[in-house]
Amino acid sequence: MADRPVLEVHDLHVTFRTENGLVPAVDGIDFAVAPGRTLAIVGESGSGKSVSSAAVMGLLPANADVKGEVLLDGRELVGLPADELRAIRGNDIALVFQDALSALNPYYTVGWQVAEAYRLHHSVSKKEARRRAVELLDLVGIPGAARRAGNYPHEFSGGMRQRVVIAMALVNNPKVLIADEPTTALDVTVQAQIMRLLADVQAEFGTALVLISHDLGVVAETADDVLVMYAGRAAERGTVRDLFHRAAHPYSLGLLGAVPRVDVPPRPRLATIPGTPPSPGSITTGCPFQPRCAYAERVGERCVTERPELTPRPGEGDHEAACHLGRRPADA
């Protein structure tokens, strides 16, 4: 935590203008990530985690309104002219996608695609860009990189394709790497390889990593800090130990409880959080998690009438949770 954050997001709001009116997707979140550190953003589908990363990259469709601050090395990105943003995208901030097969263009060789990412930000010859692409493909562990650079995406396995996507993201040595569910489409052993690769890269280049995931196992192993999102808002944030040992939000506890464990005798059914997440903005008063919360009755009226703000909780660093329950749920 000694380093200044390279990426800071303050009070980010994203609203989509649709035919059915304004639909909020992200409703005021803050996070920051320092060089060499990993921030995990955790939440169910629709909690706004992917929209947040797209907002940081300036990749949202034209019907999205973004408010708040996105600071890269102190430079405001929100509202930046398109060409200045383009110079940053892929160069200072790069994205690793969930599904490497659809993220790669089927009509070009992987070498071309990695080289393209390099040439978009460096005025070099095609040959030089190609050399750099092969270098990166080799770095991410593609055997016979020089030869494989001439292959098309469909000629690679899922894990190898994800390595190509990572090579493409790293080719310009970005300060920030945003990985949106980078291992969801892969099987478990390959998942571990890819996460190790990301950790190695991070250690070597001091890249700040924003890991978007719903896989708490991956989060526990790789993240330094965690942001738990629920219905477009932050439910809890803190260090990874804060979350796993001192979770203060009933939702975080629910997520942790839903992870199958090998050290606990198996139950007939996996534990789940009852109910479904509300769409962001559909709950305007009170706590968005209240309808699904096991502790809401104990707290009473407040959960229905008053929206909880993030308040400090005991922990290592800036551990905060947005819950009216004063004590840790486990002790309540």
Binding site: M57, L59, A82, D83, R86, A87, I88, R89, G90, N91, A94, L95, F97, D99, S102, A103, L104, N105, P106, Y107, Y108, E116, A117, L120, H121, Y152, H154, V165, M168
Partner: protein, 332 residues
């Protein structure tokens, strides 16, 4: 590449079989007609004696099967009608002999082909440019005024018969405005400028009508392509909009466009009947049309087979190009 060579060989073999079957079908259909071509050849007064003579000379007195075999023999070895000084030779490849025109069908096709090819190729370039660019513009402006204009233009194009548009164009640009010649064909070798000047109106008329399908196809394909994940990847790499749309979007939309283009062009090279008629150009379509009027069966069979050959050839070329355009397609 041996894959491709083997593919072409197999397809050519199949094409020959299709041509044989097709020629037999065409032969049977036209020779089943109640009309007697010998009637036209025997002159007036047509005594039964002379009719029989004409029939024998034209080899129409043989069985239909024998006539078909004669036709096949002519294709490979040439054939001779009659004997002695009155004999008429038709050198291989002989696709029949036109008695009314007193020339081998092969010669007629070779004479007429440049006219039709000039019309078809020029129009094809125009409609491809117009159709694809308007389709891209429509897709990029989906739901807005430009989209509506392009789609409306396509609708008009689809609904307009070429003879009507052709006649209107002649009336307006030829007679009222007196800008362009209204008929006739000047060979390219004679004067390239006059060639183009005489062809400009038929080109535009054909292009206007054909472009419609390309606008719709390009628009639909582009909308599909631009919604794919790898387009987001291209943006995330820092590619500019024009690069995203053309290098990444249009590249994927190209395959079905090229397919349609190949088949359309193949069909049109076999004769642009209405356009040739309206603009009084002596192309293959006009040859076929007048042959039908004169019961010149040899010409009808010959030109029909030639058109079929072009379409089969276009199909083969489209399949080969398809493999070159889409690396996922295998010809194995």
């Amino acid at each position: 590449m041996p894959d491709l060579a083997w593919f072409v060989v197999r397809r050519l073999a199949a094409a020959i079989l299709v041509m044989l079957a097709l020629s037999l079908a065409v032969y049977l259909i036209f020779y089943a007609l109640p009309a007697d071509p010998a009637h036209l050849a025997c002159g007036k007064p047509c005594t039964p004696d002379r009719l029989e003579q004409a029939r024998h000379f034209m080899q129409l007195d043989q069985s239909t099967l024998q006539q078909y075999l004669n036709f096949l023999k002519g294709v490979f070895a040439g054939r001779t009608f009659g004997e002695g000084t009155a004999a008429v030779h038709c050198n291989a490849p002989c696709f029949g002999y036109s008695f009314p025109l007193a020339r081998p069908v092969t010669t007629l096709i070779i004479e007429r082909l440049p006219v039709t090819a000039s019309i078809a190729l020029g129009a094809a370039v125009l409609w491809l440019l117009i159709g694809v660019s308007l389709g891209v513009v429509a897709a990029l402006n989906r739901g807005r005024l430009l989209d509506r204009l392009a789609v409306g233009f396509a609708l008009v194009g689809v609904a307009s018969p070429s003879f009507l548009v052709g006649l209107l164009a002649i009336l307006v640009f030829g007679f009222w405005l007196n800008m362009v010649p209204v008929n006739g064909y000047v060979p390219f070798t004679e004067s390239p400028v006059d060639w183009a000047w005489h062809l400009i109106t038929p080109w535009l008329v054909l292009a206007l009508i054909q472009a419609a399908a390309y606008i719709r196809l390009t628009r639909a394909q582009m909308l599909e392509e631009l919604s794919l994940d790898h387009i987001t990847t291209a943006r995330a790499k820092g590619a500019g909009e024009s690069r995203v749309v053309l290098r990444h979007g249009l590249r994927g939309a190209l395959v079905p466009i090229v397919t349609l283009f190949g088949l359309d062009l193949g069909g049109l090279l076999g004769g642009a009947i209405l356009t040739e008629k309206v603009f009084s150009m002596q192309g293959l379509g006009e040859l076929l049309l007048s042959a039908v009027g004169q019961l010149d069966v040899a010409v009808v069979v010959g030109t029909t087979l030639f058109s079929a050959f072009l379409i089969i050839l276009a199909n083969l070329l489209v399949d080969i190009v398809h493999g070159a355009l889409d690396p996922r397609v295998s010809h194995g």
